[in-house]
Amino acid sequence: MLRRVERPDFHIDEKDAAVRIADAEFPVPFAHRLEFNAPVHGTWNIVHIGLMVPDCHQIYVCADNCMRGVVLTAAEMGAGDRFSSVLIEENDLYDQNLETITIEGVSDVIRRLPYRPRAVTVFLVCLHHFVGTDAAFVFKTLEERFPDIDFMRCWMDPVMQKTGLTPEQKLKESMFRPVRPLPVDPGLVCVLGDNQALDPDSDIAQTVREAGGRILQLNDWKKHGERIGISYLRKAVTDKEAQEAYSFMIPCENYDDYLRIGSAGLFITRSPLGVHGVYQLAKRLGRPFLYLPPVCGEDRIRQELSKLRSALRDNLQQTAGAAGTAGAVRTAGTAGTDAGEPDAAETDHLEGSIRDESSASKALQHALGLIGDTEITIDYILNPRVLSLARRLLEAGFRVTRVYLDAILPEEEEDFLWLQKNCPDLILNATIHPKMRVLHNAENEGKMLALGPKAAWFGGTAHFVNLVDYGGIWGNSGIEKLAALMEDAWLNEKDTRSIVPRKGQGCACVL
């Protein structure tokens, strides 16, 4: 029998771990201290993300303790055959600068693989930085040894993430490095840099479809023959119907499909962590780029759709002969900035085709009728634009009491200020503060509706919406679907204990 480690018998208050939004500092409401990690693992890590590239093998060069997490991530995905590792030992640090063990280890893996990968992602780690490894030399040597393989230079270096790009941001740049410019296909829209597949019913997808475009994304709904990530959204649709209705969604099942990214006429990302990488790709190829974050306010959704329509209109007017031409990326929206209000003419043009604003509001009102005055908590895992979502729900009349986050995205400043002014008692709650080890409800102790798996665990509730990275939904249709998921969560309990510890929500999982 395991002995339960009891919580301290003295009271631990929320001070420093939670704050009224009116009193919170922007964009860092909580001081950096020791960190607690909740048993909620639905977010994707670099293994999940890197394996989205088809026919690609991953090789990590790191110490045992660091290796353990990534090798078992791959194993839990059932993707162990696409993963290999090279262990760093003390002697490797003393004898040389890790170049030799990295080059020879990676070479040995490739030679012994039962198949020849088209591409290999090689992950170097914090240690390589600190001993001054010549990464350029490492990759130059590997490329000379294996000229038929595209090497992606990746990093698992979390020691750098607080002062620069995170490993995920770097990966989302490196994983597109092999993409070479192809003749432009103006109707091809690549939605990249996101972990969850874009919902074919989303406002983005339907806007592209209406404009006559097609969408290519890595983690699409046909991957490995399974409808990964979005199947829950279309339970009522048979495979055949789905095929017809969503034929504008192009599969990306092999490396050649992946290389077609080079012909895209427009690049889109919805993820703040995808902006850097996808922007760099678009810039290198000389193609337009849009950042369409999963905002939730009516006006903001309208603005983002306006940007999309404008870009699509411009793009479809191009001739296909502009492939790979030099020139700066035509950026319709960049990270951390807003596109601003559309001009009057543009608004007039769009007015007739903006869909579902009223449907979204009706869906929220319907959910409100069911959920009523129930306490609602939200976490940043569900939607990176968590304050935008909180604002929308509060405006709709829901009783949102608490938002779980550890920092606020700079692009959320407008929503932060609105909430400060209009909902000053909304609590911002840290997730990694040491007090959070005990400041959570026990299982089934909480009487609330949680939006997001972390909110569910902290709240101790079985009534929760299990979405990560907004689950691929977007816009007004996203709000509609979220409202439906909220109703479902309120009516039906989930097995929190079984669900939230699983890694990579939406990915393949053998657990």
């Binding site: 339960r4 201290r33 960190e35 303790n65 078992l72 194993a75 090279v86 040995d108 620069g164």
Partner: protein, 474 residues
């Protein structure tokens, strides 16, 4: 290359070993690392994390702190958290970056202790070793910091009382089945021993403090070795390596008694007897104390020659002349190739390194395949390994990953409901099937399966297997 792992995972790392060892003792463990160690530990290596509020944190080290040292920040952060929780002790574990920058953790520990008045110690991990080393270092620090010479009143003559023992090396990384602690305790007590402490499941710091009252230490996994050696030198307490697997209790407890009588450390399963028949050899791969104990059981009951390939650090200490400590995938493949046709008892994730002719007998191990096969990990103290081997022989199957449940789930998700024929084709892993019965039922399958040789085809077999599965016998 020895350091290349193309097919198999790596064992749990040393930092996770520290956390696992100290989890239940009411202390606070701080990993000085950027981020990955904490998530890896509580996702893959710690099955108690969801239910138990143990104080294990990470410092969130960043580039500038690593370069500049920033000792004062670490001390402040630890001190602040310590003031919130008043833990029984504070343990600080090192990781790769502070290791190469040469951070002075001994000094930091002293300063934290001065600030808080709480016993604080440094555990010399660096992220480049396996869990047996990390847990071993943690247990040794416990011994050094908390175990004191017992008072004279506690040292009554052996003739006046039953023998006292400590159990060293109990962590879920090696003993993940929920019944493990109780099973071992009941066996030890049934043999007439009094248990002073169990390092460190089902016990607390107060129990650990009394450990020097024991007459003997039972080292049930490699993780207990460092503390056992320390207590042998410091207090003259001998140890016995191994555990009483089903059917070996007599041999084992004789060795324990002999350790007390002679004052010499005992390795009852290191020098196993020579084979008495020409049965196929059985090879055991994994943590050496566990595997030598199970090998002794199998050898005793089957009469087959057994070999143990110790796959964790310092395995040599526990291995006999027939065994070998192996590092890495290539060495293992080479050694198995030399053995020829054999049965291999190991975690199923070793399957891919087995040469043709080897049959894998599945024995999942949390420290290797993590939580993937958690529900199939048996109570090693109740496991009857020779039955497993014999039954496997009757079924005559090769083992294959992923488990049956993993094979079937995508089919279910895609709307295809496999019939018996499909199950037959999928059923390449009989023990996975047996152990997955409950899981299969949970995901909505009616299970009918048979073996390719037709020996076991009836529903009664399924029922028998199910009973065994549910009773934790497999």
């Amino acid at each position: 290359m020895r350091q290349v792992f193309r097919k198999i995972p790596v064992y749990t790392g040393d930092v996770s070993g520290v956390c696992s060892a100290l989890f239940e003792l009411g202390g606070m463990v701080v990993m000085h690392d950027p981020s990955g160690c904490n998530s890896t530990y509580n996702t893959h290596d710690e099955i108690r994390w969801y239910d138990h509020d143990s104080l294990i944190f990470i410092s969130g080290l960043n580039e500038m702190e690593a370069i500049m040292g920033s000792d004062e920040d670490l001390i402040r952060d630890i001190t602040e958290s310590a003031r919130i929780y008043s833990p029984g002790f504070i343990a600080i574990a090192n990781s790769p970056i502070p290791y190469i920058t040469g951070m002075d953790f001994d000094a930091i520990s002293r300063l934290v202790e001065e600030e808080t008045g709480i016993p604080t110690f440094y555990i010399t991990t660096n992220g480049m070793h396996d869990y047996t080393r990390g847990a071993g270092l943690a247990f040794r620090q416990l011994a050094e910091n908390f175990v004191t010479e017992p008072a004279l009143t506690d040292k009554t003559a052996l003739t006046d009382r039953s023998l006292r023992c400590n159990i060293l090396g109990m962590t879920p990384l090696d003993f993940a089945a929920a019944t493990s602690v109780e099973s071992l305790r009941s066996k030890v007590e049934a043999a007439g021993f009094e248990i002073v402490s169990c390092w460190a499941m089902g016990d607390d710091l107060e129990g650990i403090r009394k450990s020097a009252m024991a007459d003997v230490n039972l080292v049930v996994s490699s993780s207990g070795l460092a503390a056992a050696r320390y207590m042998f030198r410091k207090f003259g307490i001998p140890f016995t390596a191994g555990f009483p697997a089903e059917g070996t209790e007599e041999v084992y407890f004789e060795a324990v008694t002999r350790a007390v009588q002679t004052g010499e450390n005992q390795f009852p399963f290191r020098d196993r007897r020579e084979p008495v028949n020409d049965t196929l050899p059985v090879c055991f791969i994994g943590e050496p104390v566990i595997m030598t104990s199970l090998a002794a059981q199998a050898e005793e009951r089957i009469g087959a020659p057994t070999y143990v390939f110790g796959a964790t650090e310092e395995a040599d200490v526990f291995l006999g002349p027939k065994d070998a400590a192996l590092c890495g995938e290539e060495e293992l493949e080479e050694a198995l190739g030399k053995l020829g046709r054999t049965k291999v008892v190991a975690d199923p994730y070793y399957k891919d390194v087995l040469p043709a002719g080897c049959e894998l007998i599945s024995l999942p191990h949390l420290a290797f395949s993590g939580r993937i096969l958690l529900n199939e990990i048996p109570d090693l103290f109740r496991l009857i390994i020779h039955r497993l081997v014999k039954l496997h022989k009757r079924l005559g199957h090769a083992l294959a990953l992923p488990s049956l449940a993993a094979v079937l789930r995508p089919l279910k998700n895609s709307g295809q409901v496999p019939g018996t024929q499909h199950l037959l084709r999928s059923c390449t892993r009989p023990f996975g099937c047996l152990c997955s019965l409950t899981r299969l039922r949970a995901i909505g399958y009616l299970l009918t399966f048979t073996s390719s040789d037709g020996i076991l085809t009836s529903a009664s077999f399924n029922k028998a297997a199910e009973r065994k599965c549910e009773s934790g016998r497999i």
